[in-house]
Subunit: 266 residues, 4 copies
Amino acid sequence: MMRERLHSIVFGTSTRAGKNFDLILLILILASVLVILLESVPKWRDVYGDEFFIIEWGFTILFSIEYILRIIISPKPFRYIFSFWGIVDLISIIPTFFSLFVSGYHALVAIRALRLLRIFRILKLSRFTSESQALMHSLRASYYRIVVFMVFVVMMMVLAGTAMYVIEGGQEGFDSIPSSIYWAIVTTTTVGYGDITPASDLGKILSSVMMILGYVIIAVPTGLISVEMSRYKADGRNDNLCPNCEHDNPSGSVFCNQCGAEMTDS
Amino acid sequence: MMRERLHSIVFGTSTRAGKNFDLILLILILASVLVILLESVPKWRDVYGDEFFIIEWGFTILFSIEYILRIIISPKPFRYIFSFWGIVDLISIIPTFFSLFVSGYHALVAIRALRLLRIFRILKLSRFTSESQALMHSLRASYYRIVVFMVFVVMMMVLAGTAMYVIEGGQEGFDSIPSSIYWAIVTTTTVGYGDITPASDLGKILSSVMMILGYVIIAVPTGLISVEMSRYKADGRNDNLCPNCEHDNPSGSVFCNQCGAEMTDS
Amino acid sequence: MMRERLHSIVFGTSTRAGKNFDLILLILILASVLVILLESVPKWRDVYGDEFFIIEWGFTILFSIEYILRIIISPKPFRYIFSFWGIVDLISIIPTFFSLFVSGYHALVAIRALRLLRIFRILKLSRFTSESQALMHSLRASYYRIVVFMVFVVMMMVLAGTAMYVIEGGQEGFDSIPSSIYWAIVTTTTVGYGDITPASDLGKILSSVMMILGYVIIAVPTGLISVEMSRYKADGRNDNLCPNCEHDNPSGSVFCNQCGAEMTDS
Amino acid sequence: MMRERLHSIVFGTSTRAGKNFDLILLILILASVLVILLESVPKWRDVYGDEFFIIEWGFTILFSIEYILRIIISPKPFRYIFSFWGIVDLISIIPTFFSLFVSGYHALVAIRALRLLRIFRILKLSRFTSESQALMHSLRASYYRIVVFMVFVVMMMVLAGTAMYVIEGGQEGFDSIPSSIYWAIVTTTTVGYGDITPASDLGKILSSVMMILGYVIIAVPTGLISVEMSRYKADGRNDNLCPNCEHDNPSGSVFCNQCGAEMTDS
């Protein structure tokens, strides 16, 4: 009984207590992430180093208790442990304990930010979930095309990088093919740091051609995703319902495509 | 009588006097913004500092009089004061008075630029308003999706920034997680200042992956807004209905394409 | 007779002679532009300065003769002189003569590059013209929206620039509002030179917000033009012709919307 | 018989042996490209220079044997030699032999990366091929428009570059028209290295205008390709025709929406 009650609070969001639990948890996660961000800033670490250390451990112990609690009250503990949320919950406390033995990887505790995805559990769930699904659907539907596109892009980068390596002849920034490929990626994605720039005339001409091509290439993923989104939306337009079976027919239909009844308002 | 007359001039745009009033006001606002911009340039401030000071105060007094006038002639003064335009009108004069007591925030007077939105009141109003509405509609309809997208993006930035902070090990520009997040945002949005760039090989590989992913991610908001816009347009084309069956025909139709009835207004 | 013959050669493209004339002219223009580009490079000007000078004058005299010829053989000379092509032809020879009196503006002769638009006269004309028209149509149809969008963008730039000027407090690159506005434009368009970058923490936060917003804003013109293009295309799909009058009907039509005949293949 | 067997292994992918041959070849190519990339890095070349040299020659000899084998077992050797794959196979072994006589172009052996396109032969072929075709179709269908767009863009670059050359008056980076054109391309494509930036006020104003225009121009290729893609998709959905009236119904239809006939294969 007690365990069921706790389960509905810790895992559920339907009861008031469950919602409040999730809300408080969210605020704690947010506060914890903020502390990690601030702790990494040298000037603040120098002044408040000890306080940050204590707060950080406080949060970690709290989240550890929560993690153990979740395992205990879960009817199928292993299912939780190996679920997406279970793994996220675990790796968000490990780095602090890890930092007792090895230094340098302490900052990885910011992985905890992933737990903020919980926000969608409290907010108007159905609404946000359906929006996420629409987004995910579009990305999944364009998956194969994006992979084909990516393979071509990576191949082009290797070729362009090699060409620049040959042309620029080992000048600063172009002293190896991997460096030149890095430059090609920085250029074609229009990021353009400017830490590596072509010096020779031929190099400038080649990079100009690459930029203008990149300008057109940038259109491809946009097109892919736009088309999928508009298709998904078009399928979801409930404005042409059959008077008989309420099936959503495409515009211009004279007969319903599910029950064959004539559509009164075509 | 006098007050009504004034009201139609100051608030209205239907009469010739009302239009002229708005036009002159617009020119004054534009001139005033230009003076503020020029005043902020050191070399011009050194030479014409006093002139700018006088002009600036001239404009402020003029706009103050206008503001008070608007309150007086308004039938419901408080409604104006707390309306969007009332607040804009107020905060566009406050900074100058404010600068009498505190220095440094004087430049905020450029908020006055917001008043330039008035331009849409004089120009072909209906046309521009409907275009703005179409834009606003598309943005509002994609609101939830954009928020979902933004939450994901911010979370990715935090994770990517942390990863780079760990990888680059406190090197220049990556000396704190917030700095690294700033770098991640600059990189993924393809702005790429180049003030912070990865130095290690692993850092360069991670940023290459981020750039190529960012290339695909940039497609998402474009897709969202394109789809909304095309949908709004499609929905808004109901301006050529058949007199017989009310089917929405394309412009230029002489007969309805569903029932064959002649269209009275083609 | 002679004049008519000349007219068909110089102005027309239907005869073989007319085509060849245009082709030779195009090659001359291209060569002339190349000479101007090369002449501007210091290292080549130093060596071949005199040769460039002579060639340049040769081209200018040749184009001047062509210009006068066009005026003479034109049935309505003034119509040609004040046409788009007439003005382009004139301003592509003026700078060389101009350079006799004033130095420094000589390079403006590169305006001659505009004459290269002639290329579309020789290439498969109809095809290219219709493609250009489709592009132009889309841009024109989105004209008002783009203007509304631009006014908002410019206003945002002024406000963002002012905010940064106040925040960064006259630091390097942010020493005047116009400079800060220039920075805001460089940042929001994702160009990101890196010649001016925020130094303060608050400045970095504000620019991060601006970049992410700019990421969404970049979607607006893309959406506008995509929608117009797809609409133009949709209207132009000749795949649903009426069997009676061959009018192109929208998909799903049962009756032709021009003659009212029943469509056999709906 | 032997030759036929070999042919099905080397050229085919339908048999198990053929698939394995292609898979092993792919791994060898990938390994070979990786070696080339690593060899170009100074610090690794210094240590493992000799090993890289031997491995590189090993791969080249292996690929040479494969190339000769392909010629021998091919029923029409010349057809293979002059095919796309034949040429790629050849130019991926030439640079190593070439490097015996001339140094400096050795890195061109990375052209071998092109052979990685073979990956699509092993992976779920039909699926990937149809996706590639969809991409290719969209690019080909927008070909003319993209060319028209490109000609305009190049012309604009020449004009903008010249204008900046005149305005900036031979300052650093703007010391020749070609350099200024390079700058214009870097700016308008939003790459923005920052190696060349305008110094004068007028230059900054002109580049601001260029950036905002570039912001709109970037929308054009995206629009072109999006429209083609959505059109291709729409055209390609003819997979659910009514057995009675051959109308293309949406997937999941039980009755045709035009004639009301029952659909045999829903």
